[in-house]
């Protein structure tokens, strides 16, 4: 290091330091204001759609942009489940929420009760041509909280049955029109799966065991038998043990007794298994329709009547407006315009398998001609959501508790009673926690 007179060095460094500080302070100061909610008519939209859904949502956004060139919006996708919902809550609480966001209706009550949503302004919404009459009453009901509309439904996505047409034909399960002969009751279904298994040589039914599918299947079956899991306000565990055991027994028999399904398989594996033709049937949400389209000969029907009902698990996506997201009229107008604009693109969304909530699309000939997507449109009316509780909903602690409990019954690590016992104690623990919401979810 070379010698420098200390004074000169000091002065130069002082100037450098001061300049840097000044610059930084200036930049920091001016940019500090950039942290506030988006100004005037540029809006932010958060969703959790990846994969095929993500691509479809982008398609809808682009169509909206073309129709509204002046609209200035930005769409952001976050990881599905807890990461998305955590960030959504924190952004609302922190004062910089997105202007519009997607939610699952199973989560709506929690977020509305948490007081971080803005109720939808119905007259304002009507200005954009969207009213109550445009939605199925069952779905419209679910979008309410405390008697007020808190979200605008986009779709219902139920748990359905896929089947491989070629495999089923060889197994003698199709009728003369090449449609699946109606299957009802546990024996008929198991028999069908066995026949399909003989054809594929692998499994008869492809079913994810290591994930949420287990809960979704249970919920549908249990509801067909009748009963609730939680009391309406989410404060009591009211599971009908007999019915629960019956449902879970049926499920575990598939993997352990008749062995028509693989007990150790994750989501991706179950999709790949059906997609590669190694399974005759697949129980999953309808959203995988585009995965199979073009690569195999398949069809979709509503989830079968196993125990005397047509109930099946479902959830809905809906648009919400976080509290504080529309501080002025301009932003509000831009937000409502955006939401209703996307809503009117629902047909694109329906191609991804979802049942559109927007009736003008759902009742259109275009949608009805969409096969196999329109096959299960009736499910929108019989769909069962997760029980209402502050800890419940899509990707919630409740679903995790259910999944962790039931998986053991299907893999054989636990007996069915043990599995239900674990479910009971896990959920009871959630119930016993002090509720961190200002009001009850049953409001």
């Amino acid at each position: 290091m070379h010698q420098q007179p200390e004074n000169v060095f000091g002065r130069r460094r002082f100037l450098q330091g001061a300049a840097m500080l000044g610059l930084a302070g200036l930049a920091g100061g001016t940019l500090a204001s950039c942290g506030s909610p988006s100004s005037s008519s540029s809006i932010t939209f958060w969703n959790l759609f990846g994969g095929g859904d993500g691509a479809r949502m982008i398609e809808m956004e682009q169509a909206f942009q073309q129709q509204n060139p002046a609209s200035n919006f930005k769409a952001v996708t976050l990881a599905w489940g807890a990461p998305y919902y955590t960030k959504l809550a924190m952004s609302a609480v922190g004062g910089s929420p997105p202007n519009a966001a997607i939610t699952h209706l199973s989560r709506l009550r929690t977020y509305a009760a948490a007081d971080i949503l803005e109720p939808i302004d119905l007259p304002f919404l009507a200005q954009y041509g969207v009213t109550e009459n445009d939605f199925l009453p069952a779905v419209w009901q679910r979008a309410q909280f405390n008697g007020k509309l808190h979200s605008i439904p986009l779709d219902t996505h139920p748990f359905v049955m896929y089947y491989n047409v070629d495999v089923c034909r060889k197994a003698g399960l199709l009728d003369s029109d090449n449609n699946l002969k109606p299957l009802q009751g546990p024996e008929a279904l198991t028999d069908a799966f066995l026949r399909a298994q003989k054809v594929t040589g692998d499994v008869g039914l492809s079913l994810e065991v290591q994930g949420t599918t287990v809960w979704r299947l249970f919920n549908g079956l249990y509801k067909q038998l009748g009963g609730d899991v939680l009391s309406p306000d989410g404060t009591q565990f009211v599971l009908n043990e007999a019915h629960a055991e019956q449902a879970l027994n049926f499920m575990s028999n598939l993997t352990l007794k008749s062995k028509v399904a693989n007990p150790n398989i994750d989501y991706g594996g179950s999709v790949a298994l059906f997609g590669s033709g190694k399974a005759g049937f697949h129980w999953n949400g309808e959203w995988e329709v585009t995965t199979f389209e073009g690569t195999m000969n398949f069809n979709m029907v509503p989830f079968p009547n196993v125990f005397g009902g047509s109930q099946t698990w479902a959830d809905s996506h809906a648009f919400i407006i976080p509290r504080g997201a529309t501080p002025d009229q301009q932003t509000k107008a831009a937000t409502y315009q955006f939401i209703t604009g996307l809503l009117k693109q629902s047909f694109t969304w329906a191609k991804g398998g979802h049942i559109p909530a927007y009736l003008p699309v759902a009742e259109s000939a275009q949608y009805k001609a969409l096969k196999p997507q329109s096959n299960y449109a009736s499910d929108a009316g019989v769909a069962v959501l997760d029980p209402a509780a502050w800890f419940s909903g899509a990707g919630s602690q409740f679903e995790t508790a259910a999944q962790n409990s039931f998986e053991g019954a299907l893999t054989g690590q636990m007996s069915v009673p043990q599995s239900l016992q674990l479910f009971h104690s896990s959920v009871q623990r959630l119930i016993d926690q002090p509720v961190p919401l200002p009001q009850s979810v049953s409001g």
Binding site: Q397, Q433, P434
Partner: protein
């Protein structure tokens, strides 16, 4: 001035500050004013962003404090603490953290020492290549590191499984199989942070005089004896520092698990910090999360103090 000459001066001069230069009769308040003036900026930041949160967190832990809403602050006394202590999820997250620390710490200490020993023994001109190789991962953020490794671990197309398959071995579910997932976390952490310990050891090794080895070799000491009785004791300061830092850093595990496994499968890799994050921010229960934080803080404190005491005793005895 070169750095070594300054440090030579460091050694040679009296280190206590001299008062000789200060005017004898200056009133003490002038010094007080100047002194406090110098430390005030830091003290203010420290008070607002370290001390106050500590106190606030303590207060929050006694209430049913929520992330959302404002009217949910029911007083719970020690309710949150009692719940945490009886919560199996809390204990399992604690267990995961401890398992991770116990497995990764010896590897990170011994492996880094071994590599430092080897690198120390080769020509100085090429040492920089190995220094770069081992330390480069440390310069990456946890996000970049986990992006790279989630691609390595990818079940279908990742490099690891591809190599295994080409050797005729079955694929491994690195991140989704219970048991394996934690080992994968250990693996990436070792890859990521070993460079730091390695550099510390290398610097320490390069301070050890060659004469000590020559002298002991003359006495007939073999290689392993030299390592055990000369090298390791002389690296005591580094080892102490590394062990303490390592254990504390391991206990604070969060990023790797949150980004690679999301605490899964079935929370089998979820460490305490992630449990705190989930409880407070995902499940809105910040009061409960604060209580858990304090329980964990007490544990970390006990472990750190215990370490200091135990290791400095060892250092004195050797």
């Amino acid at each position: 001035m070169s750095d070594t000459s300054i440090q030579q001066q460091v050694i040679q001069h009296d280190v206590s500050p001299s008062l000789k230069a200060y005017p004898k009769r200056a009133s003490r308040w002038r010094f007080d004013l100047v002194g406090w003036g110098f430390i005030l900026p830091l003290l203010i930041a420290y008070a607002i962003f370290l001390l106050w949160p500590i106190l606030l967190g303590l207060r929050m832990s006694f209430f049913n404090w929520s992330l959302v809403g404002s009217g949910t602050n029911d007083f719970l006394g020690f309710g949150n603490y009692a719940e945490a202590l009886s919560d199996p999820d809390f204990w399992s997250s604690l267990w995961n953290t401890i398992v991770f620390t116990v497995i990764s710490t010896p590897i990170l200490v011994v492996l880094s020492l071994a590599l430092a020993l080897m690198v120390n023994g080769i020509s100085r001109r090429v040492q920089w290549i190995y220094r770069l190789a081992f330390f480069a991962p440390y310069t990456l953020s946890v996000t970049v590191m986990t992006l790279i490794w989630s691609w390595m671990f990818e079940p279908g197309f990742g490099l690891l499984n591809s190599v295994l398959n080409s050797l005729g071995l079955p694929s491994v579910n690195w991140l989704t199989q219970p048991g394996v997932a934690m080992l994968s976390i250990v693996l990436v952490t070792v890859w990521w942070t070993l460079g730091f310990n390695f550099l510390l050891y290398l610097a320490g090794l390069q301070q050890i005089s060659k004469d000590m080895y020559e002298a002991s070799a003359l006495d007939g000491a073999g290689w392993w004896t030299q390592v055990r009785h000369i090298t390791v004791p002389l690296l005591n300061r580094q080892t102490l520092l590394i062990l303490v830092l390592q254990v504390i850093a391991s206990l604070q595990l969060f990023g790797q698990t949150y980004l690679l496994t999301s605490g899964g499968p079935a929370f089998s890799t979820r460490p305490v910090i992630e449990f705190i994050y989930d409880s407070g921010f995902t499940n809105f229960r910040v009061g409960f999360a604060a209580a858990t934080s304090y329980l964990f803080f007490i544990l970390i404190l006990l472990i750190s103090l215990g370490q200091f005491w135990f290791l400095s005793r060892q250092g004195r005895n050797s």
